[in-house]
Every structure is written in C-alpha cells, then in structure tokens.
C-alpha cells in the first residue's frame, strides 16, 4: 500500500520502496559462467499499478519511475551500496576531484559536471549541456512539476560548451548528486507550450537502452531497443512490454502461467506460495523502507496544541512499556515470513544508516513492572488507570492492508497483557496518508494516539529526518499544518543533532550527527520501529542478468537482462 504513494523525483532514487531484507547482498539473476547472455526476445513485465505519466518532471509513482528509467537517464545514479555513479557524466563531481567548489565564505557552492561526449537521444539528436540546463529551467518554471526540492537551491546554470555544465548553488546543498537523475530532451520538449499536456508525457525521449514506442492506457507500455544506445551490444532484449494487470494476485497468477516473465512488488505474505515454484525466482532486495508506529505525545484532538500533553502517552513510562510490549521478532517471523528485520531506526541503509544500540527488545514483564512503578493500577477489567485516566488508546493505519491489520491484532493482544487497551480505528489511505491538513490526515491534525505506516528516506536522509523529527516541524493550526513531526516530540538534543548533520558536507560527521539524532529519538520512546522491509520482485527462471539495487527499482539495469534459450 505504502508504495502507492511513494514517489521520487530522481531516477535512481525511485527507490524500490520497501526496505531491509533478511541479510546479505541483494539477490541477482546472474547465471553460472557457462550461461552466456543471449541477444533478442521480448520480455513481458507485469505491473499491478499503472503509470499515469512517464515524463520525469511529473513522476509521482514508484511504478512510473520503474518504467521510465529503462529509457530515461540522468547525470548520476545510486548503486546498491549507496554510492553515486556517473551515467551521462564522466565523473560524479565532489570536493576532492575539484568538481565542487565551496565559496570562501562557506555559504555557496559551484558544481561542475563534465558530460560524456558523443551521446545521442534515441531519435539520434545530440545530447548536450543545453539539455541539462533546460531540465532545470523546466523544473523551476512549470507549475505542475512534482517537486523542486534542491533545484530551487540553484541560482544559475552556465554551459560554457556542449559537454560542460556549471551549477551555481545559492547554498551548500549536500544532496546535489541526487538532482538531475532524469533529464529532458530540450529539442523536443521546448516546442511544447505545456509539456504536461503533450505526448512527451506518455513517451518521453531518453538516452537509455530502450525507447518508448507505445503507451496504451489501461493495457500496456512498450519499450523497444534504442538503436542509438551508446553501449555496444546492449541491450540484450529486443523489447520489454510492461503489462498493466489489475492486482498483484493476477500478476502472480500470470507469472506462474508464464504469460509474463517478471513482476514488480510482491508482498511478504505472498512469498511462501511463490517459493514453491521452481520456475520462479524471487528478487529480494533490502530497501530503505521502515514500518513505524508513532506515539502522539500531545493531546488527541483536532488541531491539537503541540505543547499539550497526552493524558496517557505523555507519560514516558507508558511509552517505554509499549516499546517493551511490542514483539517485533514475532511479527517478522509470523506475519512477514522472515522477509523483514526488526527495526531500530528509520535509517536502515546507506552511509547514514543507524549503527547505534538497537531499540529495546520485547520484555512484557519489564513493561508491567514499569507501569506498576509509575502508578498505573490495573482495574477489574485488567486495564490500568492512573488519576482517573484509563489506559485506553486507539491505533490508526490504512484500511485494507492485511499485514498491517494483523500487526494491529497482535499489538492489541500484547498491550492488553500489560493492561493497556488498544482499539483499532483504521482509515483509507487517501485520508490517513494524504499528508494534507485540509483533507484531515489524522497525523497532521493530531487526532490519533498511535499510528502505523512506513517511510523511505533518500540516500541523503536530511530532508526526511528534519521534517519528521525536528521540533520546528510539528504541524499545528499556527503553522497551517506544515511539517511531519507527528509524535509532537520536542527535543533540543534531536534538533541540535539534525542541525549539525545539515551543516557540513563531511559524510563522516553527518553520519555521526544523524546517529546521535536517532539515539535521542529512541531515548524518548516516541516511535516504535517495527520492521525494516525488503522490496520483492520476481522473475521466471529463464530470465538472466537482473540484479537488485537497494536504492533503485529492479529495472535499473534492464539493459543487461536477457532471456535464456
């Protein structure tokens, strides 16, 4: 469900929106040495959500990024280790190779990209620095683009020659390499008065291994070999057809029947069934997505005052007890079939990943003792109360998500045993995950006790941790509901650590700062990190060459895929 909403501005970060796999390296379809790649053939890839558009500026669906990136490339991408790789640039600029120059006062910076020469778009037109500049201009001018984060930090772009781009940033913007991971073709796009309404939206031009030849809404999207692709002998496949199917169950049925050779996004609960099939291989890849339960520390009421105190959850003893009464390992084993890992932070991958002490484990006895000690007394019905306040709470998550509903049942049972009542009050994702103050998202308005959902930070976690944990980011009537700090926790330690992380380009220092922030969040017991998820895709066993990527969708190396004879 979560993946419905996860979307990314940049290609490589169109992260396979799930998270952490059990262990080890991402799965791959790399065959034994004897099994050399074969050229030719058509692969049908089932997608059970449909891209509405494939044009980079308007992409807001994981599936759209997955499809788009077989044709559309950018300056850089992120490999599975979280390292930036050049794609259409000769190198990823940084301070060491002279590509990034910070001004003397430390307030601005210039980033210079040297582009590969001789690259053409799939229509044969030359790719130049003007395309990069145009991509930025479109981003800043077009009112319908999905986001401008980062691009709005650029003051101007110079293109001294066809293969050099100089970006003048108005600030020291650390995540600069994740910008420009999708590029627009100026010679086509500039002719459109409104790009969003043009054919480019369905069939964007690219420099990648494939080019889009057909977009039949509701049915399929065809990508054929790009004859002008710069890499010799690639792609191996003649064609990839992305087939729109109505549900993941249907995609699985068609995969089993051999009507499709690959599919996207399988739920953990569907894996046991597929693992029995010898003709199917699962691509299980760790992902940055972490499922969380947030505890509202302010009053549960509409447009809650961030300085108010929740009568039950305002007591840190209660919050500790709930953390200790949450059986993460059991959830992972029983409900997620071992395809996830118990969580300890929202940052499970990449250079910024949390490596501090894990969040406290399952210990219901300790939880009971803590509540006894804090003066929460069990009543006749087994539910505790203190000073006339009954320990009765509600939890909200998205309706219709079976795994989440099962997790709620387990939590309700477990919390009952420590004398805390937990009632389930789910809402449709169009409300609960709307992230909209006016649409009444209970997290924004403060009308919840416990919530449950997943988030996926970028490889650079700054925006994520800042908007979700900094005390300035508590949504309230006073700030028109800006920010995603839904626990309403205000901690000077957390604020300070986050600010430190954003103030330097030194990755080592930043990592330490973010780790400090997570540790401080965990010490306040306001978030229960349930589990780190994996992204799971599947292939028929006659497909070779695929490889999972933590920070990207499974199609990131589609040029290497082939059909075995």
């Amino acid at each position: 469900m979560r993946r419905f909403f996860i979307a990314f501005a940049s290609v490589a970060l169109v992260v396979a929106a799930c998270s952490q796999a059990p262990s080890g390296a991402p799965a791959s379809g790399t065959p034994a040495a004897a099994d050399a790649p074969v050229r030719g053939g058509t692969l049908i890839f089932a997608m059970w959500q449909e891209p509405t558009t494939l044009a980079p500026p308007y992409l807001n669906q994981t599936i759209a990024g997955l499809v788009s990136q077989v044709a559309v490339e950018g300056l850089t991408r992120t490999d599975t280790d979280g390292k930036y790789q050049p794609v259409l640039a000769k190198a990823v600029p940084d301070v060491n190779n002279g590509g990034v120059k910070v001004s003397a006062d430390g307030k601005k910076m210039d980033v210079t990209y040297e582009l590969l020469s001789g690259v053409t778009w799939s229509d044969g037109h030359a790719f130049t620095s003007a395309d990069v500049k145009f991509t930025w201009e479109n981003r800043m001018k077009d009112p319908k683009v999905v986001n401008r984060a980062g691009y709005d930090q650029i003051e101007a772009i110079d293109t001294p020659n066809d293969t050099t781009v100089v970006m003048h940033f108005r600030s020291v913007y650390a995540p600069y390499p994740v910008l420009f991971q999708f590029l627009l073709a100026k010679h086509v796009a500039e002719k459109e008065a409104d790009l969003s309404k043009s054919d480019y939206n369905q069939r964007p031009l690219g420099t990648g291994p494939f080019k889009f030849t057909e977009f039949v809404a509701g049915d399929h999207i065809t990508a054929e070999r790009n004859p002008n692709y710069r890499v010799k002998d690639k792609p191996y496949l003649d064609k990839i057809i992305f087939k729109s199917v109505p549900a993941s169950e249907v995609a699985i049925a068609q995969l089993k029947a051999g009507e499709v050779q690959a599919m996207w996004n399988i739920l953990e609960s569907q894996t046991p069934d597929l693992e029995k099939e010898s003709a199917i291989k699962l691509a299980i890849t760790p992902s940055p997505s972490v499922e969380r339960v947030e505890l509202n520390t302010a009053q549960n009421k509409d447009m809650t005052d961030p300085t108010s105190v929740h009568p039950v959850l305002g007591d840190i003893a209660m919050r500790k007890a709930l953390v200790w009464a949450t059986p993460k390992q059991q959830l992972v084993d029983k409900l997620l079939f071992g395809k996830a890992k118990p969580g300890s932070s929202g940052y499970s991958q990449g250079w910024a990943k949390y490596t501090g002490p894990p969040q406290d484990g399952y210990d219901p006895k300790k939880a009971n003792d803590e509540l006894d000690k804090a003066g929460w007394v069990k009543g006749a019905d087994g539910i505790r109360s203190k000073g006339g306040v009954r320990a009765s709470l509600t939890i909200v998550t998205t309706t219709g998500n079976k795994t989440r509903e099962q997790v709620e049942q387990v939590l309700s049972d477990e919390y009952q045993q420590i004398g805390v009542e937990l009632k389930i009050q789910n809402q449709p994702s169009s409300v609960f995950l709307s992230g909209s103050w006016s649409a009444g998202d209970p997290r924004k308005r403060g009308t919840f006790d416990l919530d449950m959902y997943a988030t996926s930070p970028d490889i650079d976690p700054h925006n994520h941790i800042f908007t979700r944990s900094h005390s300035s980011q508590i949504p309230s009537a006073a700030n028109n509901g800006v920010g995603n700090n839904y626990t309403r926790l205000r901690s000077p330690d957390v604020d300070k650590a986050i600010e430190e992380g954003g103030a330097t380009l030194d990755l080592e220092k930043r990592k330490v700062a973010y780790n400090k922030a997570v540790k401080a969040i965990n010490d306040s017991y306001a978030i229960i990190w349930l589990y780190e998820r994996a992204s799971i895709d599947a292939f028929r066993s006659n497909v070779g060459g695929w490889q999972g990527n933590v920070w990207d969708n499974i199609t990131w190396n589609a040029g290497d895929w082939y059909l075995k004879k």
Binding site: R2, F4, F5, I6, A7, F8, A9, L13, A17, T42, I44, E50, T52, T53, N60, Q61, P143, K144, V146, N147, R148, A149, S196, K197, N201, Q202, V216, A217, G218, D219, K239, I241, S244, V245, P246, V250, A253, Q254, K256, A257, Q427, P428, S429, S430, V431, L433, S434, G435, S436, S438, A439, G440, T455, S456, D458, N463, H464, G481, V482, G483
Partner: protein
C-alpha cells in the same frame, strides 16, 4: 411524437445540470483528495503541495471550482486528468472502442440466448426444461460478477489452462482474430450469464401473462397455427418489458462494466473510472459521470419511444 421527444430533451438539460452539481458535491465531500498521491515522496515539501493545489485550481472555493469546470465543459473543454495530465475527452475516446467491443458482444450474446430460452420456458411451463432454466437463471442472477469472474479465471485459466487470464490480446504478437476471441470468452461469459438470467425471467413472466389473454384465444380460434400465434401475436406484446429493460441497459455499452473490466484487466471505460476514482482524479470522474448520466437519460427516452411503437395504445402528446 416529435414535440414529445423535444420536450423530453429540453427537460433533460436541468436534470443533467442537477446531476453534475450533486456528483461534484459528493466528490468534494469524500475525505482525502488528489494530493494524497504525493504523500510518501520524501522530496515533496508542503510548499510543493500548495503550488500543485494552486496549479490544479484546488485552492479555489468549491463553487468556483464547479463553475469553472462547468463553463469549460459546455464549451467542449473537458479538462485534463490530474494524474496523467491528458485531456479527459481523449482518455474517454481512447477507451470507448474497447468497451463497445466487450459490451456489444455481451449485449448480442445475452439477447440471442435469452430470447429463445425465455419464450420456450413460458410455452413449456413447469416442464423439466423450465425447472432447470428457472433454477439456473436464479442462481446466476444472484451471483455477483466479481465472484463469477474470478471463478471462471481460476477454473478455465489457472487450472485447465484453456483460456487467457485477462487482457484484450496476447502482448507482443500481431493481430489475431482467434486470440482476440479467446480473450473475449471469459469476460463475456461472466457478464452474459448474469444478464441472461435477468432477461429470461422478464420474458418468461410476460409471455406467461400474454399467453392467457383473450386475443390469443381469438387468434387460435381463427385457425392460425401455433407458431404464428406465438411469434406474431404473443411475442410482440410480451416483449414490451424486455425492450424496456434492454433499452435501459444500452448505456452500459458505453459506460462498461466496472468490476468485470477491473478483474479481467480490460482497458475500457469501467477501468478508466475505477482508476480515476482511486486517484480522486476529479476531471476524469466528472467527465465520465456526465457522459453516463446523459446516456442514461437518452436510454430512458428511447425506451419510452420504443414502447409507443410496440404498443399502439400508448400515445405521447
């Protein structure tokens, strides 16, 4: 007659207007909205959300939003989808042939099968054939299409491997009539089986009633053979209720079958609406609803006109 039709058409205008007002109001009253799709994108700021709301006109008061939709709509500008940014009219026109193809086949198959069965069961009331048909039609009549469709997929697609699991054609192959027909069988069967049950029930009931009329006794007394009595005298009158039902079903030819198209991954109008509804894509939903409402009003009018043709006693002035 012409004045009657004209008057009805004029009356339809305020009715349509009312329908669009109510639809728009209901859409806006549903919690959530088109911006829900942007949650979870770690790169989207609240500022981006506000900019997009402004670009789509969602920051205007609801009545202004409605009026600007309406003025554009009547001048032929149906707006653009919030999610695909494509013109609404183009999206509808693109799906229409697929739905006509599916629903037209369903319509023809249903009538071709239902009419003879309906007549025959009435003529042989309480025969073993009648009992079997009555039992079967009742069973299918009470079967939801989402269940029947899935059942057919499981049996004929997954277990017997006789028919494809969905879609309009096998992807990656050239046009092939046999392949098209194979893809058509299951969705048509799903919709027809339910529809046949309905039509048979209507026709059987009205045939039974007609067969006991005095004028049929007169016809027989004149010495007409039974075939003529049934086909010429009974059927024409008995088919009036069926014609009404069939005419009222005509809009489905264009509107499609929401659930069945979804189950079989059929790229028709039903799926277009389904997807638009899940995305709160107001312009597409409104365009679709306006078309559907207009068709239903027209179908009602058509049913009334047919009535007059079939039953000379009915006169409109």
């Amino acid at each position: 007659m012409i004045t009657y039709v004209l008057r009805r058409l004029i009356q339809a205008v305020p009715l349509l207007l009312g329908i669009t007002v109510v639809s728009f109001a209901i859409l806006k009253a549903i919690p959530g909205g088109p911006m829900a799709a942007y949650e979870g994108n770690p790169n989207i700021t609240d500022e981006d959300i506000r900019r997009l709301e402004h670009a789509l006109g969602l920051d205007q008061p609801v009545y202004i939003q409605y009026l600007s939709w309406l003025t554009a709509f009547v001048t032929g500008d149906w707006g653009y989808s919030y999610s695909s940014h494509r013109p609404v009219l183009a999206s509808i026109v693109e799906r229409l042939p697929n739905t006509l193809y599916l629903m037209g086949t369903v319509y023809v198959v249903t009538l071709l099968v239902a009419v003879p069965i309906g007549i025959f069961t009435a003529l042989r009331q309480y025969s073993w054939f009648d009992h079997i048909v009555t039992g079967t039609t009742f069973a299918f009549l009470s079967t939801p299409t989402f269940w029947l469709g899935l059942l057919l997929i499981i049996v004929f697609g997954l277990q017997l491997h006789l028919l494809p699991l969905g879609g309009m054609a096998t992807l990656g192959t050239d046009f092939d009539v046999v392949d098209r027909i194979r893809h058509l069988i299951l969705p048509v069967a799903t919709l027809s089986l339910v529809g046949i049950g309905r039509y048979v029930r209507f026709l059987r009931a009205s045939m039974l009633e007609t067969l006991t009329q005095d004028y049929l006794r007169t016809a027989r007394a004149k010495g007409l053979v039974e075939r003529v009595v049934v086909a010429r005298h009974a059927l024409k009158n008995a088919s009036i209720p069926l014609v009404t039902v069939a005419a009222l079903d005509l809009p489905e030819l264009f509107v499609g079958a929401l659930v069945t198209e979804q189950i079989f991954g059929w790229p028709g109008m039903g799926r277009l609406y389904w997807d638009a509804a899940t995305r709160s894509d107001y312009p597409v939903i409104m365009g679709f609803l306006a078309v559907a409402a207009a068709l239903i009003i027209l179908a009602n009018l058509a049913a009334d006109v047919f009535y007059a043709y079939l039953d000379p006693r009915i006169r409109y002035a």
